[in-house]
Symmetry: C2
Subunit: 434 residues, 2 copies
Amino acid sequence: MVLRLDTRSGDFEAAFREFLGGKREASADVGETVSAILEDVRSRGDEAVIEYTRRFDRLELTPDTLRVSAAEIDEAVSKIDRDLYDALAVAADRIGAFHGRQLPEGFCYTDNAGVRLGQRWTPVSAAGLYVPGGTASYPSSVLMNAIPARVAGVGRVVMVVPSPDGVINPLVLLAARMAGVDEVYRIGGAQAVGALAYGTQTIAPVDKIVGPGNAWVAAAKRQVFGTVGIDMIAGPSEILIVADRLNNPDWIAIDLLSQAEHDEAAQSILITDDAAFAAEVEKALEARLGLLTRGDMARRSWERHGAIILVEDLLRDAPSLVDRVAPEHLELAVAEPDALLERVHHAGAIFLGRYTPEAIGDYIAGPNHVLPTSRTARFSSGLGVLDFMKRTTIVGCSADALKCIAAPAARLAHAEGLQAHGLSIETRLDDSAR
Amino acid sequence: MVLRLDTRSGDFEAAFREFLGGKREASADVGETVSAILEDVRSRGDEAVIEYTRRFDRLELTPDTLRVSAAEIDEAVSKIDRDLYDALAVAADRIGAFHGRQLPEGFCYTDNAGVRLGQRWTPVSAAGLYVPGGTASYPSSVLMNAIPARVAGVGRVVMVVPSPDGVINPLVLLAARMAGVDEVYRIGGAQAVGALAYGTQTIAPVDKIVGPGNAWVAAAKRQVFGTVGIDMIAGPSEILIVADRLNNPDWIAIDLLSQAEHDEAAQSILITDDAAFAAEVEKALEARLGLLTRGDMARRSWERHGAIILVEDLLRDAPSLVDRVAPEHLELAVAEPDALLERVHHAGAIFLGRYTPEAIGDYIAGPNHVLPTSRTARFSSGLGVLDFMKRTTIVGCSADALKCIAAPAARLAHAEGLQAHGLSIETRLDDSAR
């Protein structure tokens, strides 16, 4: 039985708080193991990476075969079904077009005091993309992580993907090629993160590491943070659907299940103003569950973490609940979603109307599918071009401009007890440049 | 003796690498202590905060006196010297004006397929600012942390500042008032970070915590990250000055010392193309050192971590060295700094020409003085308005638009083994909305 909440019931606030506070994932404590692997990769480089790959991926590599060659990529790509090739190409184009709009502009101006002021955006020099192996080796994630880096102007984009027993998903290699990845290495786990962060004899270090991974990868990213930048550490996926009774209940049911099928820690929530519609959705969901290949997983997710929340008035009641959940994905399945859109503040990505299933955003709409989970949309954003760039501020004073603003600056410096700070300003007023 | 390097010497590369890799700060391992404090604040709220404040700050508080009242702020502010008041007001104005230019714009468009696409920026709901107590209680930092939050449109800005033995710097309270801080609490340490992250009976939780602090505060910020957003964990300050022989050596010397006086882990580096000029700077620096109130500290920083790097040609050789250091502060003390500016990629803030001492940026120029340290300018930025905002992407399909892009999306979903993802798209093509 899925959790049901009703805003009109007296204990709603307490029950909703408990629901919000619920933990969906036990975090494995692998910090020490990871720390030892990272240290080993840092000190021994390729040799350590090759040893861990032998142990964890049952694969024998040499420094020469760490990298997936262009010929191997050609070979893998040549066998890909034409329709799939084209589908990935459409996705890459659309993702590139959307992310192109995210390119920021700097500014530069001279103010009344004659001070030249500005802000400049520049890309990081090199980015590393972690791609999981096995069943979670998603070509769509390669596009979503690599294209923003390329659009940002990152000089060198490197991908690591574990190849257990020598197997790599050919679609992942195709996606890497389409997204313009420069180097692909067949390594994974904490050892691959270490290689990207510290560099080895064969792999030059990068400045930023992005991409999803298991507990070892997540722990490794946390530990190398500071040496390199990292993206967020993603938690299990979520969807919140705000739907009125005029939706096809089967559509809403399958949307809820499209999150639930990811992972049993995933979470699907429906907010509606109609109890009969909610019951119809549940019925449709049951019917669908039996037919899904990942139905058992989806059922566990739905029954453990799902919820149906009944409200009196969608427009009045839903936005504040949405903001408290701050969902990764938000569907506004109503005829006029803009009124709700304006009232909602915290969500990773929003899908408008009855014909925008969340999954369209996972693949092809254009925006990124790497989004903040676990209520972090309150303060963080999906992956984008800005994650591969940084700002530098610029100040330029002429002798006259400095005179204009020197006195208050020096006064504050001395008030803070920082004498040399004050003197560095004052001495330029009294003396000559040479 | 300060380290001297010369790009023309055979061992330069090895020596420069060693210099770059040098650690300047031992990080205290306070993780477990902090973890216990956070857990205690999380479960006991005000009571725990009050107990830790009694123990660490020798101050007896009640839930009613946790907050600094408006009357207390009035009283403290009323005694502040008029010149200092005015200086802080000028700083607040200029910082506000610069940060106003950082406000981002979203976008919204409909593409060829008829898909509505957009990106919206919204502020976080509540931000918490940590301000250290004692000698590092800087009013300028209050402005630099609180003003970007205000400009971003953050609804509630909260400040915590420890008050050991009951003492708070009145200038810090004035800065909080000028910057529009809504609530000030006289608490500090890990307990204050815990109160901001989890909330207590008296203090509502925030969504993002920013501001500098000691090892306990830094560890607490790391640990609450995920529950709330945090800014970077700042390391010791740095300056790199690129200067030709046409500078007044005393000006360059005092600029180097203005970083060195912060902290013995601070780092000051001079890159010049003239050995005689370098010697003059060193001589001027020695002369200044003896006169500074913080001269002992500055000397330790300079002798342990400072460096003079001689190059043959500033324009040709300096930029790549600068990028490898990726300094927090970069002064380009030459007559025509723009040529260097164009060639440099990684620096937190850049100061142009002979009349722009770094200290002018610490107080009054306008850009933020919270900047990336320890080579992290390769991938991160100074504090700004964007740190208090987040992006939400928006997708809207009509029935026709969905038809246009459905096929490749569903194909990719099925190729990734995510059947419900595919079905959520396909079912909308076959069936009717209700």
